[in-house]
């Protein structure tokens, strides 16, 4: 079917600013397949149902709208002091000098830019594949664009228990940088990896991560998105879980003008568990969108979606979350909660929770709420001598607690709480 004229023009303008990275190996062919998917779909538009609450204009634009960097002052880098294998990208380009040696017991790590030229590679069966699968029933053109044009990324193959977390650090240097990264992570049966991500990466950042989690494997993911106030980001996490596999993914977002985080998760083997959580704090010109699609394709799997947003001074939060239970996925346990705490009347939360169930013996629940800070609780705390701002911070952290609890590692959870506390102290309160 031909694209509408407006979509065709937008796509042509965007494609004119991009070049397919050179290469002759397996990657070249999967890139061209991704490009065909993209040209068939066109770029997202506000009129598309899936983009009703988030304007993709700045994500589609041929050039990245500029964004100045955030100066964290004396605050330590995220995950600082943790024993981890650091892989650094500056404006979307791998920085070998700042990165650790890529060898790690239980894990093989390669750069996409180098591994793509071989004739045969394990990533051939993953790169662009989960993304392509994730295009139905809802189109995700920006993910296809990423698969076609990603300039760098890592291919991580986990064969055993990773000796330490792999930490992807995205440094933003140029005010006009436009980074496209694509990572593949493959966990063999019974393997185990903690993957950390942090940093803004660029003025505009597009990132796709495809994760294949084989039977009994465990994938833990914690991400702290960049704090640059003007940065824009669109990210996709595609994951497929085998039998008794486990995935936990948590994202902290503070600041950023526009963030769209999509997660597409398929529970393909029995008794898999997928937990997706996010804690978001936004002040002012801030638009944050969590779009989540969890498919239960096998029996006795458990999924949780826990997304909490604290919004002030006109910040906007979006949640589109779906649980699809396929025929035969009996004994499914699906849970979804999305909540916002609006600290003033200017801020906004838009939520679209969905359940679609084709099995009859399932337990699925979803809830979405939007509320203000509890003034009675605030007074109670103050009457015990807790200053108003501190009291408000305590209540905000309490509100976010359910999402933070989804982090398996207590030290990381503590770091996240500390970061939130400091953010709240800086951004203060209304009233």
């Amino acid at each position: 079917m031909a694209l509408p004229k407006a979509k065709e023009d937008a796509l042509a303008a965007r494609l004119a600013s991009l070049t397919l990275p050179a290469g002759k190996g397996w990657l070249a062919s999967v890139r061209s397949e991704a490009l065909s998917r993209l040209t068939a779909m066109g770029l997202p538009a506000r009129r598309d149902e899936y983009w009703r609450y988030t304007d993709p204009t700045s994500l589609n634009a041929p050039a990245a709208p500029p964004a100045v960097r955030f100066e964290p002052g004396d605050e330590a880098e995220p995950f600082d002091g943790m024993d981890r294998l650091k892989i650094v990208f500056v404006d979307g380009i791998f920085d070998p000098a700042a990165s650790d040696d890529l060898s790690l017991s239980g894990v093989t790590i390669e750069r996409l830019a180098l591994a793509g030229d071989t004739d045969i590679h394990w990533a051939q069966g993953l790169y662009g594949q989960l993304e392509a699968r994730g295009q139905t029933p809802v189109a995700r053109p920006l993910a296809a664009l990423n698969s076609a044009f990603a300039t760098d990324g890592v291919l991580i193959h986990v064969t055993g228990k990773a000796a330490k977390p792999v930490s992807l650090v995205y440094v933003h240097k140029s005010d006009t940088s436009d980074a496209i990264l694509h990572h593949c992570v493959k966990l063999d049966a019974g393997a185990c990896l903690t993957l950390l991500e942090n940093g803004p990466a660029a003025a505009r950042f597009s990132k796709v991560m495809e994760v294949d989690i084989a039977d009994g494997a465990q994938f833990h993911h914690v991400r702290i998105q960049g704090r640059d106030h003007e940065r824009r980001a669109v990210t996709h996490l595609f994951a497929r879980l085998g039998a008794q596999a486990e995935m936990r993914s948590f994202t902290l977002t503070a600041n950023g003008r526009l963030t769209r985080n999509e997660a597409v998760v398929e529970l393909a083997g029995a008794e898999g568990r997928a937990h997706l959580a996010g804690a978001t704090v936004g002040d002012g010109d801030f638009h944050h969108d969590d779009t989540v699609f969890v498919t239960h394709a096998a029996p006795a799997c458990e999924s949780r979606q826990v997304f909490k947003k604290v919004l002030m001074n006109g910040a906007v939060g979006v949640f589109q979350g779906k649980i699809l239970v396929k025929p035969g996925a009996q004994k499914t346990d699906g849970y979804q909660i999305s909540q916002s705490l609006l600290l003033d009347e200017d801020s906004q939360f838009l939520a679209k929770p969905e359940l679609e169930i084709y099995a009859d013996d399932v337990k699925c629940s979803h809830g979405s709420t939007s509320g203000a800070i509890d003034e009675t609780a605030l007074f109670y705390l103050q009457s015990r001598g807790v200053p108003r701002r501190r009291a408000q911070a305590l209540l905000v952290l309490a509100f976010l607690a359910e999402a933070i609890q989804e982090i398996a590692d207590e030290d990381i959870a503590e770091e996240i709480r500390g970061r939130l506390e400091r953010w709240l102290a800086r951004h203060g309160s209304t009233g």
């Binding site: 609780a377 705390l381 009457s383 015990r384 807790v386 501190r390 952290l397 309490a398 607690a401 359910e402």
Partner: protein, 251 residues
């Protein structure tokens, strides 16, 4: 300790006058009780003293050891030594009782320029005080007042009082919703805190609490004013004859 002069208060949202000239003076170490029918303004008095939003003071003053309370933020009043035991203690999901207590204790210490208590020292003190109030470790771990029974909530209020060591304690209908045993336990907790440097204002509907917390002075409040003041016998008189006689007598 506490001196209230000609206090007039109306609701902020509507033009409804609640307190119409309250005068009250409580000396150090004294226990005063305020009794009165529903709607007489007893609870409003406790809220206005502790600084809750929604009330407008149109006239008068309330001084704690010479410091004007009405100009302070609620947390400043607490640091100055005022404590209100709530009629309906507030549930705060997600905030652990222990975190809450420690935050409160240290916030007050900081406000007074004292050193904060270390986690170890705090734990020691809180365990000891909780034990006398029959508050177990489990209750300390749970979120503030969440899933607590009526009695547990009130005991938790007294625990906060014991930890914060205020000089002026206001107990707002602390007996409401308690059975006799729970009331006794709460009263024992309060009595243990009585001292020469600490005063109490006990607000109650019924005389029965005053069997356990013996007041020095009893005030009867009606229509936003204190209409009669006497000794403990005044409470017994109310118990026997109700408020009607006193209201008639005062006119």
């Amino acid at each position: 300790m506490l001196e209230i002069k000609n206090l007039h208060v109306k609701l902020e949202e509507e033009d409804k006058v609640i307190l119409r000239g309250v005068d009250l003076k409580i000396g150090a170490g004294e226990v005063h009780a305020i009794m009165g029918p529903n709607g007489s303004g007893k609870s409003t008095l406790s809220y206005v003293l502790s600084g809750r939003d929604g009330y407008e003071v149109t006239e008068g003053s309330a001084k704690l050891e010479g410091q004007e309370l009405l100009e302070m933020e609620p947390e400043e009043r607490a640091a100055a030594g005022l404590f209100l035991a709530f009629q309906y203690p507030v549930e705060i999901p997600g905030v652990g009782n222990m975190t809450f207590l420690r935050t409160a204790v240290n916030a007050q210490r900081k406000a007074r320029g004292e050193e904060e208590l270390s986690a170890g020292d705090f734990l020691k003190v809180v365990r000891e005080k909780a034990k006398t109030l029959k508050i177990d470790a489990e209750m300390l771990k749970r979120p503030v007042n969440v899933g607590f029974s009526g009695g547990e909530k009130k005991r938790n209020e007294i625990l906060q009082m014991a930890m914060l060591e205020p000089r002026m304690c206001i107990l707002d209908e602390t007996d409401s919703g308690l059975d006799v045993d729970a009331m006794k336990l709460v009263a024992e907790g309060v009595n243990a805190l009585r001292s020469a440097g600490r005063s109490f204002l006990v607000i109650t509907h019924y005389q029965r609490l005053l069997d356990h917390i013996k007041p020095d002075v009893v005030h009867i409040m009606a229509a936003g004013r204190i209409i009669k003041t006497g000794g403990p016998e005044l409470a017994l008189e109310v118990e026997t004859n109700g408020y009607a006689d006193i209201l008639n007598e005062v006119g």
